[in-house]
Amino acid sequence: MSGLEFLLAGTLAASLPLLLAALGEMVVEKTGLLNLGLEGMMAIGAAIAFICVFHTGSHTLGFAAAALISTVVAMFFAILVIGVKANEVAAGLAIGVLGLGLSALFGKSYESRTISGLPKIDIPGLSDIPLIGPTLLTQDIVVWLAVLGSIALWWVLNRTKLGLIIAAVGENADAARSIGYPVVLIRLCAVAFGGAMCGLAGAYASTVYTPLWADGMIAGRGWIALALVVFGTWQTGRVAFGALLFGILSLGELTAQAMGVGLPSQVLSSLPYLVTILMLVVISRRRSGLF
């Protein structure tokens, strides 16, 4: 397989954990909260999904279990931030550290074990297209579901009343509350959604993308997803585009070789973070006060 073919075939799968986690966090941030615990929620989801698939062989069960456990961890965040109004930065770090620790604890006895991933689907017609057919358009079922899910999320956020309510809660919670929207409930659901999406993202990473358990396998993807939300300026389409871009970058050295770039791979690995800082600078307008 040539470098280009490799990139076409691998980019979507590499982007998927980033995309799922970032879309979840995007909804959380749209309601006016910030959950820094993505890395931990993905890690615990990845561990539980792997254990589940290892014992039952069912990926459906694995993904469901991962979504559930990460939602539970996200609820710890909700208890702190929505429940007792604790500092959200500290709360996010608490569940982040907790998730990472639990992931390593549960996964300990599965170190280096492998499971089978998911088959790539040949869609008649699509996979016959030259070059992109057998590479870009031959993906596993989760990729296609994620594409459909992203479109659905875009539709909900931009074309439905629920989307408007979510935006209202984030823009001005007091105003939303005073016209009778259930602010607490909306935020609770958003945090739960964010958790579930991180769980699915972790599950994809550990049971499909690299179906092998290794401690620390999330390897900073949660932080990249967090950066991605900013990069995508809280818009579904741009977040999805960013996920593809960061996904390509995450293929690191392989990308560099394919593009014939003589840069150290660390420069490529740093690019998502550098670009995010740049985006932050561009989008943050100077407000009247700093506090």
Partner: protein, 356 residues
């Protein structure tokens, strides 16, 4: 039954002491249940985590060794946190501090550089500060969130470290391991107690604690920082410069983390290697919060977290627990602290039906 959280006018003093103690008790109970559920000997695990570090002078000295960087970084961070300046990337400033300090012994491996050690500490302090101040500049000039910028900068710092260790700074006689040459003797911090690894960086940390205490509790600048955190509008009306708080909050955090990074390579590591990114920068955030962002409280919390670190190493041997148990314990501790902290800031009021 409905209830509301009513903010107290003054923090309950009793609660300030009971909150961390309660958090520790809850954390112990939760970990006992968790370890037992995993089929480990939960009692032995907790014994190894919390008590064993006290049972020999050597392991106690290791606790003090761990405590030095955690205490130093947490004191620096807490100053910012109290002013609502959230420096989440102390890990990055720590790494850059370690890098800058290492530059001297890497380029003068024979140690023929005058005042090697003081220069290394100064380089580390400068590197950490400048690295943190980039976030301050972006925040004050463009309004970019320092939470995300410091975090991204920390991740970039890891890549810079990797680049140097795999490339130009790799020890040519190091069997291709990603590490620099071993530092010469005059690049190493003096040991505090013979026969241990505890070095004088503990003194830096205790001095920083005194400085933080005097500044935050007894100096006008500390008053300004605290006001900026507690009552931002009041600070604005009082004419306290908002950007100065950001520069100060981030700068002091970076300074502390930079010195801690320099002390790490000039102390227990003795060279720059990948394990310098051991998460002290993140753990220090937990230390700062569990210490109530109070300079005295942080001394206690940094000691506690260090005990758990050393205890965790013990538990891997004696109770068969993975090192990750330490992370779980830290996460639970912060979780329960934030929960019980409610006792300090709020009182619970139940809605009673008004009699007809």
């Amino acid at each position: 039954m409905k209830f509301r959280l009513i903010r107290r006018d003054t923090a309950s003093r009793l609660a300030m002491f009971t909150a961390p103690v309660l958090a520790l008790v809850f954390t112990c109970v939760a970990s006992l249940v968790l370890f037992a559920a995993l089929g480990k000997d939960a009692g032995a695990a907790l014994y190894a985590l919390l008590l064993k570090p006290f049972l020999s002078w050597y392991s106690f000295s290791e606790v003090l060794l761990k405590m030095a960087p955690l205490l130093l970084i947490a004191q620096g961070l807490a100053i910012g946190f109290r002013a609502n300046v959230f420096n989440i990337g102390a890990e990055g400033q720590f790494i850059v501090g370690a890098l800058c300090a290492s530059a001297l012994p890497v380029y003068f491996p024979d140690g023929d550089f005058p005042l090697m050690l003081p220069a290394m500490i100064a380089f580390g302090a400068l590197g950490g500060t400048v690295y943190a101040l980039i976030a301050a500049a972006l925040r004050t000039r463009f309004g970019a969130s320092e939470i995300l910028v410091t975090l991204m900068m920390a991740l970039i710092a890891v890549q810079i470290l990797n680049y140097l260790l795999l490339g130009p700074w790799k020890d040519p006689r190091g069997f291709n391991f990603p590490q620099t040459v071993m530092f010469p003797d005059n690049a190493m911090l003096p040991i505090l107690f013979d026969g241990t690894r505890t070095n004088i960086s503990l003194i830096f940390s205790l001095l920083a604690s005194v400085f933080a205490y005097l500044m935050m509790q007894h100096h006008f600048r500390g008053y300004q920082l605290r006001t900026a955190g507690l009552a931002p509008r009041a600070a604005l009306y009082a004419g306290f410069s908002a950007s100065r708080m950001v520069w100060l909050g981030l700068g002091l955090g970076g300074l502390a983390a930079g010195i801690a990074g320099a002390s790490e390579v000039a102390g227990p590591l003795g060279q720059l290697q990948r394990s310098v990114t051991s998460g002290y920068g993140y753990a220090a955030i937990i230390v700062a919060y569990v210490g109530g962002l109070n300079p005295l409280g942080i001394i206690a919390s940094s000691f506690l977290i260090s005990v758990i670190y050393i205890g965790g190493d013990n538990a891997t041997v004696s109770a068969g627990l993975p090192v990750a148990a330490v992370e779980v314990f830290q996460g639970l501790l912060l979780f329960f602290y934030l929960l019980t902290f409610t006792l300090i800031r709020f009182r619970i009021e139940f809605d009673r039906k008004v009699p007809a």
